[in-house]
Structure formats: structure tokens, C-alpha cells
């Protein structure tokens, strides 16, 4: 065999190796990157996963979202290696969360609810989302997605309803079971915006 042919055939073997192993890697990666199952930090209660929004999403978009979400998840964990003080870390967590919520609020909520309740002031970042998605958030509370800690979302859900107009809240209340209905109607009784200012977050 002539030398040029040998070179070409060896290069081809290298390329074949690249191709072969590439087809194996994504499967490994997919399982490693999959977002964590909902769970409180200790006793995990198996609850029905909250489904993605009903509107069909193109697979390409979904995979982009998943990849962005895993970057956020990875960044969230990376904050642990930055050697930050707790106040510094909380500030960075707030900022990261603001970005994450815009991409995928459900994964972001799953992550925050896995932190200890000491960090639940981070839930304030969901104020707008909760007002935009009151039904979905009610499902999360009702289904106890985060076990007993799901109760921590109730008050925040109620205060987010204040951003909705009265007609929307009344309409929503009609669709909810008794507990949710009562909680939604209770918010209507509260005077809007009369809580005193108590400093920045």
C-alpha cells in the first residue's frame, strides 16, 4: 500500500472513532443533565410532576430551554465553590434566580424549594410569575409537590394575587377547590399596598 493511501485511511479511522464515540456520549449526558426530581431536602414525597404548559413547544426550543436550565442549575451549584459569605451568596443567588425564572420558572422553583427554609426569602423573586400563573402555582401547592414545605408557597401565592385585577381573582376562585377558593377570596379583602416599607431585600 502506498504511503498517501495509508495516511488517508488512518485519518479516516480517527474520524470514525470521533463519530462512533459521539453517538454514545449524548445518551450519557442526557441522563447526567436531567433536572432533579422534585423533593424536599429530606422526606421525598412522590407527587405527580407538574406538567409543562399545555401549549405545544417545538422540540428544538424545548432542548434549548433544557440546556439553558442545566446551565442555571450548574451555576446554582457552582456558587457553592465561590467561597462567598452567606450575604454575598444570597445576593448572587437572587440575581441568578431572576435569570433562571425568565427561562424556566418551574425548574428554578424546584431548586429553591430544595434549599433550607432559611433561604426562602429567595421565593420573593417569584412574585410576578405567581401572579401570571396563579392556577399552575395553586396546583403545585395543592399537590404538595414539595411535601409539607409546599405550604410555604401559600402566603406568597396569595400576595401575588394582589397584582391581578379583581375580576381575574374572582374567576380564578371559581375554578379552585374550597381551600384555594377561600385563600383567593381572602386576598380580595386585604387592602392593596398598605404594608409598610421595611428596607431592601
Amino acid at each position: 500500500m502506498k504511503t498517501p493511501l495509508l495516511i488517508v485511511s488512518h485519518i479516516a479511522a480517527v474520524l470514525l472513532g470521533l463519530l462512533l464515540f459521539r453517538s454514545i456520549r449524548p445518551a450519557e449526558q442526557a441522563s447526567a443533565d436531567s433536572s432533579p426530581a422534585p423533593a424536599s431536602q429530606a422526606q421525598v414525597r412522590e407527587t405527580a410532576a407538574v406538567e409543562s404548559p399545555a401549549s405545544p413547544t417545538k422540540p428544538k426550543v424545548r432542548s434549548e430551554q433544557a440546556s439553558k436550565a442545566s446551565v442555571h442549575l450548574s451555576a446554582w451549584k457552582s456558587l457553592a465553590s465561590e467561597g462567598l459569605t452567606r450575604p454575598e451568596r444570597m445576593k448572587a443567588s437572587h440575581l441568578l434566580l431572576q435569570q433562571w425564572i425568565k427561562e424556566d420558572w418551574r425548574s428554578a422553583l424546584d431548586m429553591v424549594m430544595k434549599e433550607t427554609p432559611d433561604d426562602f426569602e429567595l421565593l420573593d423573586e417569584f412574585h410576578l410569575v405567581f401572579s401570571r400563573e396563579p392556577e399552575a402555582v395553586w396546583q403545585i401547592i395543592e399537590q404538595k409537590r414539595y411535601g409539607v414545605l409546599s405550604h410555604s408557597l401559600l402566603g406568597r401565592w396569595q400576595s401575588a394575587l394582589v397584582l391581578c385585577d379583581e375580576a381575574t381573582v374572582r374567576k380564578l376562585a371559581e375554578t379552585l377547590p374550597e381551600r384555594g377558593k377561600q385563600a383567593a377570596l381572602e386576598t380580595l379583602k386585604r387592602a392593596k399596598g398598605n404594608e409598610p416599607y421595611s428596607g431592601g431585600g
Binding site: H10, S40, Q41, S74, L96, P117, Y197, G199
Partner: protein, 480 residues
């Protein structure tokens, strides 16, 4: 070896080399995951990944000011009468507190503050504020004459909203010389506004406590010292007391300086800065009622328990975020114990046991099973005591799941000394948990697996339900 065999072999080597190259490249890209997984064994790689880069960017962004204060101050002058307010409403007209343009919003709100601080402040309250609003408030207050600042504060004396306005007043007065601050005190009569004084002391920077003492001396007013010792952060109060104890000119400055009550003295030395010698803190804690008749050994043991709790808890709250590092696998429990010991060498030398148990306590709220490694080698009785003692005294703010995971590290059956401790731990925990999680806590208790903890949880819930006038429901949880 036949030539054909050599050729097949060399091609196979090339094929594998391609695969190895891809594997190595991907592994390096995914370095973060493997680094995190490797933490338990102590191997960490410092490879940048999209996640770590994003985390780093967030840290940088969180340290940057929200807006350019100089630019905002300049831009605010360009707003005419009523225009700042109008622009603020315009930028938040979409119905949320987040303005569409941060820099413009900061300038407009600042202009509004300059024109009508009361109205601008009322708007902030109604908007429920946030960091951006707070940053503008701080800038607006710091640039206004102290008299105007006081005027705004006086309109808020009956409202919890005075909190931040008073705090910033404290920061401003601490930045003045004691003579200047004393002059303002005299001219304004600020000391008579209790609510303002309380929040002002709250905002007084911890590293300027000496300035407060000098201010009080310039005012010849021992009541100011009393106010400082009675309000705010105990660490700061302790700093003032330690400072007062170190001075021999106080009797001369304050002829009628009252004695600091023994209980308060003992309480504050528990919170004294770790730079105060440990033996001094322990000796002063003898002023506490429950330690005043203790033997030297019992005093030392009791004081060390509390001092270690305070110091290590403070470190976890304001120092390096070890709990987060542990939670996300960046540090092991052992590594954190070593780091804590390095920061409190005197405490660690005085009691390795208390230091270890306190670190265990902090980390157990994250992952009780993983934190257990810290106490696993202790003798059984000490181990059970550590678990029950911590569950009883310092775990009541944790979630029901975390509390259960902790106390169930000592699942029973109980000795005669352990049983009342377990019952007491649940008795302390249940009212708070029921208050916070209501019917969901009731449901949670129902689902607990059988054992000593289930029995204690049910008995404590029954007592809480009875106190809440729910005798019927309580019956379900009473021992039969």
C-alpha cells in the same frame, strides 16, 4: 507479524484515539459535574464550565452598584417640578415594581425625593420596594441635610416604616465626629424620640461602637449607653459593654452611671466578639441567673455550650457560606469542621466536643445523615445527648422533614434520661410547626412511621391542638 495485522492494529489505535480525544474534550467541558462529584473524596478541578462562568458573572454583577450614583445625582437635577414623580410612574406603569430603565428610574426617584421626600417615600412603601428603591432611598437621605432627614423621620414615629430611615440616620451620625454628632443631638432633641433612637442605634455600624461611646461622653448622658445596651444586635451591644469595661474614665464622665444589670452583663458576654478571651467570657457568664451558683466545671461546660452555639451560628450566618457549600457538595462536613476550628482556635482547644457538636448541628439542618459523620465516633450516650440536645434547643426553625431527620438520628428506644429530652424537643417544635404549616403539619404527623418520634410528635401535636381549641381533632393524636 504479518503486515496486514499491523495495518489493522494501527487503524484500530487511530479509531480509539479519536474516541479518546472526544471523551477528553467533553470531560473537560463538563468538568464542573465531575468536580462536584469528586468533592466527597477531596478531588476538585478548577475547570471553567458554562455554569461556573455564569455563577462567576452573577457574583460580579451582585457586587456592582445597581446604578451610577454620581450620574443619578447629576441627572436628577434635569427634572423640573413634578417631572421626577411623573417619570417614576411612567417607568413603572406596566404594573410591577421593576422599572423599565434602572438608571433613568434612579434619577427620577431621586429628583422626586428632593422635591417631596414624604410623597416619594410613601410611593416606595406602596410599591413594596426592593434593592433598587432602597439604594435610591439611601442616596436621597444621605444627600439631604440632617435636619430634613429628621423631619421625615418624625412623620414616621408611629409607623414601622421608620426602620430604614432611622437606620440610615445611625450610619450618618456615626460618620460624623463625636463633637459634631453631639451638636446635632443637642440642637435636634433627637434623643427624646424613642422609636427613632431604636432604629438609629440599629443602623449604627458595628465597627464604630467606640464613636457611640464618645458621643455619649460628649453628651454626658448615660441614658444613651443604656439605650444602646437595650436594643439591636446583641453582638453590637456586647461590643459596647466590653469597651465600657475596658475604660477607666467612665465614672468621671458619668457621675451617675448605673451598674449594668448582672443578667444583661452575663447575656452580652455570651455574644462578645471571639477576640475577647474565652476565659473572660466564661467568667462574665457567671452573672447569668442559671449559672451564678454553678461550680467552676459546670460554669465552664454550660458557658462553652452557649458560646460555641453563638460563635459558630454567627459564622454560618455572616461568614463563609459553609452550609451552602455542604448542601451542594463543595465541602465535606470534616472539611468544614477543620475550617471552623481554624477560625476559633481558642474554642476548639477549650472543647473539641462542643465545637464538633455545634458544627454537626449547623450542618444537620442541611443533611442530617451526611452531618452524622461528625459525631458517629462519639460514645453512644454522648451521641444521643448531642442529637437530642440540639433538636431540643436549636432546631425549632427547621422544616418538619429536617427536624425529623435530625431527631431520628437517635430513634430510641429511650433511656430514662433521654425520654423527657425527646418529649421536650417535640413540645418545643410542634407549636411553631403547626403555626407555620397548619393542616399540612397535621397531615405530616399522621404519616410519620411508628416509633418513639411518632409517639412524641403526636403527643405534642395533641397539646397544641387543644390549646388551639380543636379538642376533637386533638383526640386523634392523644395516646391511647
Amino acid at each position: 507479524m504479518p503486515k496486514a495485522l499491523v495495518l489493522v492494529g494501527s487503524h484500530l489505535v487511530c479509531l480509539l484515539a479519536g474516541g479518546y480525544f472526544l471523551n477528553a474534550a467533553t470531560a473537560s467541558r463538563d468538568g464542573h459535574g465531575s468536580a462536584m462529584a469528586a468533592t466527597k473524596s477531596g478531588n476538585r478541578e478548577a475547570t471553567a464550565t458554562p455554569g461556573s462562568t455564569l455563577a462567576h458573572d452573577m457574583v460580579t454583577a451582585s457586587r456592582a452598584p445597581l446604578f451610577d450614583a454620581g450620574q443619578a445625582a447629576k441627572a436628577a437635577t434635569k427634572f423640573g417640578k413634578g417631572e421626577g414623580e411623573k417619570k417614576v410612574h411612567e417607568l413603572t406603569a406596566h404594573g410591577t415594581k421593576e422599572p423599565t430603565d434602572t438608571a433613568e428610574f434612579a434619577a427620577a426617584l431621586l429628583a422626586w425625593f428632593r422635591e417631596d421626600p414624604n410623597a416619594a417615600f410613601a410611593f416606595m412603601q406602596a410599591a413594596r420596594a426592593g434593592n433598587l428603591y432602597d439604594a435610591v432611598l439611601v442616596q436621597a437621605l444621605k444627600e439631604m441635610p440632617l435636619d430634613d432627614h429628621l423631619k421625615l423621620a418624625k412623620t414616621l414615629l408611629e409607623s414601622p416604616a421608620i426602620f430604614r430611615v432611622g437606620e440610615i440616620m445611625g450610619e450618618r451620625l456615626a460618620a460624623l465626629s463625636p463633637a459634631e454628632a453631639a451638636a446635632f443631638f443637642k440642637s435636634s432633641g433627637i434623643a427624646k424620640y424613642e422609636a427613632l433612637m431604636e432604629t438609629m442605634i440599629g443602623g449604627w455600624p458595628a465597627d464604630k461602637v467606640d464613636r457611640f461611646l464618645e458621643l455619649a461622653m460628649a453628651m454626658k448622658d448615660p441614658n444613651l449607653l443604656q439605650m444602646f445596651l437595650d436594643s439591636g444586635d446583641p453582638r453590637k451591644q456586647a461590643a459596647l459593654l466590653v469597651l465600657m469595661d475596658s475604660r477607666d474614665d467612665l465614672a468621671q464622665a458619668f457621675p451617675n452611671l448605673p451598674e449594668v444589670p448582672a443578667g444583661l452583663r452575663g447575656h452580652l458576654y455570651r455574644y462578645a466578639d471571639p477576640s475577647v478571651p474565652l476565659d473572660e467570657r466564661i467568667a462574665q457568664m457567671k452573672n447569668l441567673d442559671w449559672l451564678k451558683n454553678a461550680t467552676p466545671e459546670a460554669l465552664r461546660e454550660g458557658a462553652l455550650k452557649q458560646i460555641s452555639t453563638v460563635d459558630i451560628n454567627e459564622l454560618m450566618k455572616t461568614g463563609t457560606d459553609y452550609r451552602y457549600a455542604f448542601r451542594h457538595g463543595a465541602m465535606t462536613a470534616d472539611e468544614i469542621l477543620i475550617a471552623v476550628k481554624e477560625q476559633f482556635p481558642e474554642l476548639a482547644a477549650a472543647s473539641e466536643y462542643e465545637t464538633r457538636v455545634r458544627v454537626f448541628n449547623e450542618l444537620a439542618s442541611e443533611d442530617a445523615q451526611a452531618a452524622y459523620a461528625l459525631i458517629a465516633d462519639l460514645p453512644e450516650e454522648q451521641r444521643i445527648n448531642a442529637v437530642l440536645h440540639q433538636s431540643r434547643w436549636s432546631f425549632r426553625h427547621n422544616s418538619p422533614d429536617a427536624f425529623y431527620e435530625m431527631i431520628n438520628l437517635a430513634p430510641g428506644p429511650d433511656s430514662a434520661t433521654a425520654a423527657p429530652q425527646r418529649a421536650d424537643a417535640w413540645k418545643s417544635y410542634a407549636p411553631r410547626a403547626y403555626g407555620q404549616y397548619r393542616e399540612d403539619y397535621v397531615e405530616w404527623v399522621r404519616e410519620l412511621p411508628a416509633g418513639a418520634n411518632r409517639d412524641a410528635a403526636r403527643a405534642s401535636l395533641a397539646a397544641v391542638l387543644k390549646q388551639s381549641n380543636q379538642a376533637e381533632l386533638a383526640k386523634e393524636f392523644e395516646a391511647r
